[in-house]
Every structure is written in structure tokens, then in C-alpha cells.
Amino acid sequence: MKNLVDGRLPRRLLLLFELMSMSLILLYRRDSLDIKIVALAIGLLVVVYGANYILSRLSDGDLYIFLIVSMLMSIGIIMIFRISSDLGLKQLLWLVIGIGAFFGSYFMITKLSFWESLFPVYIAAAYSFFAMTLILGDRKHGAINWISIGGISFQPAEMTKIILVFILACFFSGRDKFSRYKYADYWMMGVIYSFIGLLFIQRDLGTAMIFMGIFTGLQYIYSNDRKVIRANIGLFTIGGIAAYILFDHVKVRIMTWLNPWPYIDNKGYQITQSLFAIAEGSYFGTGLGRGNPSFIPLSYNDFIFSSITEEMGVFTGIGIIMLFMILVYRGFKIALRQDSKFYRMLALGITLMFGLQSFVIIGGVTKVIPLTGLTLPFVSYGGTSVLSSFIALGILQGASEKLTREEIR
């Protein structure tokens, strides 16, 4: 794939953006300049510019997706640093690790070729991640999706999302192989529903929605048996209604979505605080350091979008949505250009994952759809989220290249 525009220009524009936002941070903290800020400023510049530069040397694929992501993570880290400088520095560390993982997964996906044949391994890995969560899991913010090993907290569901994409890509690209079995489509659906059920038990509704979305999206494109899709949608509807009737925490989500104001000091607290912040931000925001994003619970995590909107304005918020829109567009473009069916499906699955996840959490904090806890990819604070997002991005990067050794189906 040949780039139409010289790759250096957008990279330099990004550098300009970084320089400007760093000077904003320096200005905001002018009274208490210390080593942390300087470390963050230089660190971020080097990491972002360096990574983009190295990538342009290594990959002849799509160079825009990493630029878009650089932009997203820059806005995110500035906001996180503004809320807490310690978290900001930690996030920088995670970004460095994440970018490392990005190159790692990029190499592994392009240089190794056995990915298509590991279907049983993926299934086993997914179930063992779920088992780990259920056995070792801690409940945080209402959901059991954290496990702690040796002092390091970890969200297995973030990784399971990527495994899910592999499972689906294997299944739909290897239809001939699977069609030997009767009802293969239904078996697959059963497996996916078992994942969603397990997520439900963990009360991780957000991730459950993403799983459902990725599965339904790929099924829509690749399943020749439309009956299965109807069955899927029917089951989903019945399951949704049943969940609403059976589980109080689902009911609460819907109630506080329809009208959170009567529950302003209990069940509707999070969403109303988020709306206050967005309203306060108006078009251009209060200015960095001049708002009160700390009033929002999880202001640097699930609600980072509201924090950004408060201090940088709705226009920045719309900017972030548009960045995700371009990322999704590039992702689909990558898929359309990829000749290998398996990699095409990987690209589609990952793009769906980014697109749906950003839609669900931004829609949730703005009260367009019911709120479910999720991180905003590349923007929110959090090690596992950053790591899994970059691993996924590395796979997308790999899929954007022409993979000649694949047998073209």
C-alpha cells in the first residue's frame, strides 16, 4: 500500500499539537514546576514522535491509525496528568509499555503464520481467563473484572476481547473446515453466549455489550445462514428483557438512563455528575485546570470523556468522537484492502471493538444510551486497557499490510 501523502507532514502536525499541549500543561503548573512535569513533557514527545517515526520505517501499511491513536492518547494523558500528576506519569509508563506491545504484536502477527490454526487454544484461553476472574476476582465499581497477581491488578476481560476476535476470525474464515460439523453456527453462537453469560455473572455489562456487538457484526457479514442471525437477534432481545426483569442492576441502569434526576444523590449520581461536567464545559471548556473534573467519580477512567469536555469544551469532545470515526473508517478500509480472509476478519473485529467500545462509553456518559462501565480506548487511564488496546492496534497495523505468504481465498 503506497501512501498518497508524505507521511512526514501529519507526523509534524502531531508534534506541533504535542508541543502546544505541553506548553499548556507547563503554564497550568507554572507555580509548581518540578521534575515530574518535565519528565512527562519530554517523555511524551519522544515516545509519540519516536514511535511514529520508527513505524514509518518499518511498516508499509496504514500509517494513519497510529497517528490518530497518538492524538487520542495525548489528549488523554494531558487530562489524566491534570487530574493527578502521579497517575499521569504512571499512564506515560503504560503508554511506553503499550507501544512496546504494539510493536510486539505487530511483529508477531506479520512474521508468524500459525494464528489461523489455533482455534481450540483460543477457546481454552478465553474460558481460563473467565475462570481466573471468577476465582480470583475482586469487585471494583460494581463489576468483578479485576484480578490481582503479585500486587499487579489486571482485567482479564480486556484480553478476552482480543481472543474473541481471533475465535471469530478463525471460525468464519475456516467455514469449510467447520461445516463438516452439523449446527456449527449454533455451536459457535452457544460459545459466544456462554462468554456473555459469564460477563453477566461478573456484572461487566459494558464488555458484554461489546462481545455481543463484535459477534453480531461479524456474523452479519459472514454468516450465510440468515436464520442464525435471526436466532441471535431474537435470543438477544429475549435475554435483554429477561435481564431487565431478573437483575436489579440492569433495571437501575435503564431507570437512571431514562431519568436520572430523581436519583441524583444515589443511583443516578455518576451520570448526573457527568452531565454537570459536560454542561459546565460549554463549547470551549473552562480551560485546563479551571474546571472541577474531580467532582465526577472515575473522572480519569470511565468518565474521562466528561472530564475532557468540561475543561476543553464540547468541540474537543466532538473532535475525539471524530477521531474514533476516522479510526473506524481506516480500519474498515484496511479490511476491504486485505486479501487474506482471516486477516480481513481480524481487522474488522478489532475495528468493531474500538468503534463499539468508544460509542458505548461516550454514549453512556452523555446519556444517549444506558451507562455501562468501560474505558475509552487509548484515552482512559488504566494499564490493562492501554495494553490490550495497543496489542489490538498492532494487529490492525499488521493486517494493513499485504501479507503475500497467505493463501488467498
Partner: protein, 469 residues
């Protein structure tokens, strides 16, 4: 294009539509909803600054201090000098329950220093002064106190204003509440069925009763012959419904002037039919019905039905009953407009805003709402109003040495106990004060209970208020 590509594109388009919906909703939210959300009293951002800012003080027209703020240990505290006297005018500003009255409508001035120009807002942002602007009211403190004293023990409202300028001199609504103990008493006060939080002067909607005959009289002058004699027999049946007078024997032969002075119901009910619904509606609109009257307080809009529901309804409208509802403030604007030769001035409560340094930031300009009637109509109407107090139902409002004009009203309502109204002004030749008194569910006539209160208000105002400030 093959099926797979087509489906991929459909998926892409649906995701993009999803994002577009987010962008659309954010824009909608910011344009239409954000203001209301921001001002929700649960929004801690509203208070984080106000804890540090000293709200400006509020004084009456002579500079008597009514409310001010004081800092103790860096926390601002609002002090209301009078527990109940200004509970509906100034209102309250409480972290727990929000704001009301002028504290609410003038909040941005009370917390923000200097003019609200872009430059000043920027300066304020960078270097907040921490002291808000002051308000000077048009209220005369002694008249306000007198009004509350006269109304005490009753339900209702008294409003007085200078008809030439629109300055509101007194505004009292009972029952009221103690602003200084409202936090402790919130539950009792807010659940009280007599609605003490409700400002009857601006929000209360009452049938105006015979006071509305002012409008019908204008109609008679315009659409009928005012000098035609009408024979009142005490009752008249219109479309099957009986309209009766307080004087069961009837008033006998009457012209408009006599009917107005004696507040003859059968006369005005009959004349309303001659005038017709659309003409009467036109006059009501001219007098300010169906249009919001803004004084910076929560207020209701007086209602004159825009649809016609037959003769009985129209006849009831002619005597201020039926579906007509008016706020006391609206009735005050009407009587003031007539007193001021038809020039209805816009009522206002805040005359000046001054910066903490004492510089005048904004002074309220007197504004004409509209010219009511033509000079012949107004001259005749004024004479008729004078006659009400001189020889008619409003004799209890008369003052020795001062010519008073006005109109009484006794409004029937579903509770069964009549509301007593009086709307009037004095002196007749050079009106300085106009007043409206309404006693809710008083059970007696306007002439016997509301008129004497109005008289005392006018006496007090003429003796004590400095009209020429």
C-alpha cells in the same frame, strides 16, 4: 460489488451514524439543555465559588440594609435582616435547596463584580475579587412593613407601586416563611398546604371579580352607548343561568357610571353580550392578559379565555368570573396604567446595581408597556373610579383631604368563600401611589375588607415614601 463488501460498508455506515448521533446529541445538549443542568442546585460547581464570594448586599429605596453577606473563617454567610418581611421579594439562597426571588434572578450580579462584559469576565476569571455587586430596590421598607402588618393573620397579597414610574413600593404575600430558619423548617414549609413558598403577588391566579368591570366598562364605552339606561331588577337570566346582584331588590334604572359605582352585576353581565367575546378579549389583551409580566420573580400569566364558550361564559367574563384569572401584580399594572392617563408602566423591583466600590453599574430604565385606551375613555374611566370611592362600593377607601379612586371586587371561587379585592390609586389629580389588595377566601366583600386596608396603605405611602428620590 460483492455481498461481503456491501455488508462491510453497511456496517461502516451504521457505526458512523452512531457517532453522528453522539455529535448531534452533544450539540443539542449544549444548546438547549446545558443551562438548566448547570443551574441544578446539586451541581457542586455552583457552590464551590459561592462559598468564597461574598454576595452583594440588598437595600431598599432609601438605602436601608435588607440583606448582606459576612465572612466567618473564610466561609461566606448570608444574613437576612428581616426574617419574613422579604421572603418572597428577596427570597433565599441556600446550598441545600437552591435559590428563589431576586437572589435567584439577580444571582449573576450578586456574585459577580463589575459589568458582565467579556473583558471584565476574563479579568474576573483570572483575578476574582470575591465580592459581588449590590442591589438597590424600589421597595420602601416602612411601607413594606406596614403592608405586612395590615395583612397579618390573613391570606393574600398587597402590592403597591408608583404609577408614573413603575417602581414597586411594597410587595407582600401571606402566608410567608422565615428565611433565616428555612433550612431547619424546610419540610414543614414546603409541604404546608397553604403554600407559604408561593408568591401570591406574582404567581397567584385569582378570578378578578368586579375589578374586571374596568375592562367591561371600556367595552361599553367602545361598543355600546354608555348613557343608555338599563333597568336592574336584581337578577338576570342569561342562557338559562341566573346572574344576581348583592342588592336583591335591584338597582333600578342605571347608566354606565352608576352601574360601575354600584358594581351592578346584571348590568355588566348583560353588556358583555352586547360587546361580544372578541372585543372583550381584545380589551383584556390590551390590559395585559395572556402576556407574561416580568419583574424578575417567578410569575404566572393572567388568563382571559381566547375561545368563546357561549353566552353564559361571556356574561360571567363581563363581571370577572368564569374562566378569567389574574395575578395581583397584573391588576396593579392595570389600575396604575389608568391612573397614569393610560400609560401603563412596566413594574420593576431593582432600581440600581452598584459595584462593591459604589459605582453604578446599571440603573433600571423606566419603560412603557403600552398605552391603554384613548384619552376620552381613560378620562371617563378615571371619573368612574373616583365615583366608586366617593359614593359607591369603595367608600371605605376614602381619605380625608385626599381624593382616592378605585374599584372593589368580590370574587366567587370554588372554595365557597369569596376573595376580597380592591384596586385603587391616590391622589386622584396627581397619582403617586397605586395599590392592589387581595384577601384570599376572606368571605366578605372587597368594599368592606380590602378597601380599608388599601386606604391605610395609601395614607402611609403618601406620608412616608420619598417619591422623588
Amino acid at each position: 460489488m460483492n455481498l461481503e463488501k456491501k455488508r462491510i460498508l453497511i456496517l461502516l455506515v451504521s457505526l458512523c451514524i452512531g457517532f453522528a448521533i453522539l455529535i448531534g446529541y452533544l450539540s443539542y445538549f449544549q444548546i438547549f439543555r446545558a443551562e438548566a443542568v448547570r443551574n441544578n442546585s446539586y451541581n457542586k460547581r455552583l457552590w464551590i465559588n459561592e462559598d468564597k464570594i461574598l454576595r452583594g448586599s440588598i437595600t431598599d429605596r432609601d438605602g436601608n440594609l435588607l440583606a448582606y453577606s459576612e465572612a466567618t473563617d473564610g466561609i461566606a454567610r448570608r444574613i437576612y435582616k428581616y426574617d419574613r418581611l422579604y421572603s418572597h421579594v428577596i427570597g433565599y439562597s441556600l446550598k441545600e435547596y437552591g435559590k428563589s426571588g431576586l437572589e435567584k434572578s439577580y444571582n449573576s450580579y450578586l456574585v459577580g463584580a463589575n459589568e458582565n462584559t467579556a473583558i471584565n469576565e476574563l479579568i474576573n476569571l483570572i483575578n476574582p475579587t470575591g465580592v459581588g455587586n449590590n442591589l438597590k430596590l424600589t421597595i420602601d421598607h416602612s411601607l413594606q412593613a406596614k403592608a405586612r402588618e395590615l395583612l397579618s393573620g390573613k391570606k393574600g397579597s398587597i402590592v403597591a407601586m408608583d404609577p408614573k414610574t413603575g417602581e414597586i413600593l411594597a410587595m407582600v404575600s401571606l402566608p410567608d416563611f422565615n428565611v433565616n430558619t428555612l433550612i431547619q423548617e424546610w419540610n414543614t414549609v414546603s409541604e404546608d398546604t397553604s403554600s407559604p413558598l408561593f408568591n401570591r403577588a406574582t404567581q397567584g391566579l385569582y378570578p378578578p371579580g368586579s375589578v374586571f368591570k374596568i375592562a367591561t366598562a371600556i367595552g361599553v364605552i367602545r361598543a355600546s352607548n354608555p348613557d343608555d339606561l338599563y333597568n336592574c331588577t336584581g337578577t338576570v337570566i342569561i342562557d338559562g343561568k341566573e346572574f344576581s346582584d348583592s342588592n336583591k331588590n335591584g338597582h333600578g334604572e342605571l347608566s354606565l357610571d352608576e352601574a360601575f359605582a354600584k358594581s351592578c352585576n346584571t348590568y355588566f353581565a348583560t353588556k358583555a353580550l352586547e360587546i361580544g367575546h372578541s372585543e372583550l378579549l381584545q380589551i383584556a389583551i390590551e390590559l395585559g392578559f395572556n402576556k407574561k409580566l416580568e419583574v424578575g420573580l417567578e410569575s404566572s400569566t393572567s388568563v382571559f379565555p381566547t375561545d368563546s364558550k357561549g353566552d353564559t361564559d361571556l356574561a360571567a367574563s363581563g363581571i370577572g368570573q368564569g374562566r378569567i384569572l389574574a395575578t395581583p401584580l397584573n391588576m396593579l399594572a392595570i389600575i396604575s396604567g389608568i391612573a397614569n392617563d393610560g400609560a401603563m408602566m412596566e413594574p420593576y423591583l431593582v432600581s440600581e446595581m452598584t459595584s462593591p466600590e459604589g459605582k453604578i453599574i446599571k440603573s433600571q430604565e423606566q419603560a412603557l408597556i403600552m398605552q391603554v385606551g384613548d384619552s376620552n375613555e381613560i378620562t371617563r374611566l378615571k371619573e368612574m373610579l373616583r365615583e366608586v370611592v366617593k359614593t359607591g362600593t369603595g367608600r371605605n377607601a376614602s381619605i380625608k383631604n385626599v381624593a382616592v379612586a378605585g374599584k372593589t371586587g368580590t370574587a366567587e371561587n370554588p372554595t365557597g368563600k369569596n376573595h376580597a379585592w380592591f384596586a385603587g390609586f391616590a391622589p386622584f389629580d396627581d397619582p403617586k401611589v397605586a395599590v392592589v389588595v387581595i384577601l384570599e377566601e376572606e368571605g366578605s366583600s372587597g368594599g368592606s375588607s380590602a378597601a380599608p386596608i388599601a386606604r391605610d396603605i395609601m395614607i402611609h405611602a403618601l406620608n412616608n415614601v420619598d417619591f422623588n428620590r
